[in-house]
Amino acid sequence: MSSSVADTKPGDLPRTPRDWVPLLLVPALMVLAAPLFGNVSSWVTLTTAGLAMGMMIFLMASGLTLVFGLMDVINFGHGVFISLGAYATLLVLGPLAAWGEADSLVLNLSLLGLCILAAMAVTAAVGMLFERVIVRPVYGSHLKQILVTVGGLIVAEQFIHAIWGASPITVALPQTLRGAFVFGDVAIERYRVIAVVIGLAVFGLMHLVLNRTRIGLLIRAGVENAEMVESLGYRIRRLFVSVFVAGSALAGLGGVMWAFYRQTLTAGMGMDVMVLVFIVIIIGGLGSIGGCFVGSLLIALTANYVGFLAPKLALVSNILVMALVLIWRPQGLFPVNRQ
């Protein structure tokens, strides 16, 4: 960079106001909800559970929001990558079952790590095939995308039935990840802490990649104006495939975390969670990773709080949150300018 450019004093420049308000929604919700609980322990337990749930939703939704933002593809088949990721754990849990039963944190975490690697590898490979065979022929047509990806989802679910059977399969959490950390009256499940750590790590990594690397720059530019990225000499098609594969792998990672959370595998488990995933990416702003993160936490915390305080409203709470957010910001919490 030229010295004259580097020498420009930031203090002399007009500043862009940072959009902090959406970021404050999650802590504000947590603080405002606290007095409604009779005791601190319930609030802490539900808040931790909500954060863990939010992280898992974020893992499952982040790939979809990138795929929609960059490729303008509505992939209703995204749920199958969640299911597939969950079932891929069986590839590791079968031969390494002893690692899960061992009373060793290292072995247990290694097992979880291997499950994640296997799931991401399987879903990335299937994602590449899915993009090539199902999605590529229908670029530019939303209606066809919905029809074809739903069709792909049904076919893929039947493949899962054919390979692993139609009956639900139980998976056990590794030994040392079971149970809870207890602080006085407060119990925090260990696995939820792991989910929060992994969710934060993935969010941090995605933030770094998107904001500190050239490929991230290209993705952000491509979300705004794919045609201009091509006019600058970049092959956007390769970027599309890479993002689709990465999005599928992230769904696979989310599937692993979801599988151990539910401890039951069904072929439809990914589709079951897709309503939440779509709500989250709409709330966040289509194509926004930050919005997806905040939206996931907002939805999960609200669901947990309302489920405890007013169970009859639990079913509609997510829709209510979405409606309120969209009344406030019709393009989502962090709108992405797309041309």
């Binding site: 004259s4 450019v5 705004e224 990225v229 970049y234 300018n337």
Partner: protein
């Protein structure tokens, strides 16, 4: 005319059911600034987009520096050395000014001397260097679009209506910037509705009407002939000055 770096021969372009370009043929001489003129809807933007491969020519032949690019993909055309500034400017508003320029430099970091030269042409960009490009005014966005196109040396610059909607003072800045680019030996194909700007900048003029080339020749010839201007563009010099 000097040696042509870009030639279009009998280019036809269809967009859906519409036959926009109907056998366009002209050449761009190396080191010259060629103005592409014509009424609204004549096919100027379509010509640039067809050259860039954003809309495929249905027939005809486009050659750049001796290599046929008629059926090439847009990224390959850009990589062959053509920079394009669309009418919409194509600024990435969520990226900073710096990131917009960094992205345009495909081969690595922007050369510091070249960057200083670019920011000398468009000093306003220096002040907004690390701010989102969405914060820029229309004129500043246009400056950024051109700065981005020349972030690395290119062999041909296609610019679509850079003065459109700009205030007179900004149009003067833009004319000065293009004069500096001309002086630096850049080859430019410039679509322009502002005949004053065209007359000041152009070496040659190609006038398109109804998807066909209605006239081509030295810009001075068109400037000197008000009847020709009236016939081809529907306007006289007086109305533009």
């Amino acid at each position: 005319m000097a040696e042509a770096i870009l030639t279009l021969e009998g280019v036809h372009t269809h967009i859906g059911p519409y036959h926009i370009l109907q056998g366009v043929s002209f050449g761009i001489a190396r080191g010259e600034l060629t103005m592409l003129l014509g009424r609204n809807g004549a096919g100027k933007t379509t010509t640039l987009r067809t050259i860039m491969g954003l809309w495929q020519a249905s027939s005809g032949r486009i050659t750049f520096d001796g290599r046929e690019i008629t059926a090439s993909a847009t990224p390959d055309i850009a990589r062959s050395g053509i920079a394009y500034v669309p009418e919409s400017m194509g600024i990435f508003t969520g990226l900073t000014v710096r990131e917009n320029i960094v992205l345009a430099a495909r081969s690595g970091p922007v050369d510091p001397a070249r960057l200083d030269w670019i920011l000398g042409l468009f000093p306003a960009l220096r002040r907004f260097w690390d701010l989102p490009a969405g914060n820029l005014s229309g004129g500043q966005k246009q400056m950024l679009a051109i700065a981005r196109a020349i972030a690395e040396p290119r062999r041909l610059l296609l610019v679509d209506e850079p003065t459109k909607g700009l205030a007179p003072v900004m149009i003067r800045s833009m004319i000065e910037a293009f004069q500096a680019l001309k002086a630096a030996g850049e080859t430019i194909l410039l679509v322009e509705q502002n005949f004053h700007a065209a007359s000041v900048l152009g070496d040659r003029a190609v006038v398109i009407d109804d998807g066909r080339v209605a006239h081509q020749g030295p810009m001075s010839e068109l400037v000197a002939d008000t009847d020709l201007q009236q016939r081809l563009l529907g306007l006289s010099m007086d109305t533009h000055q």
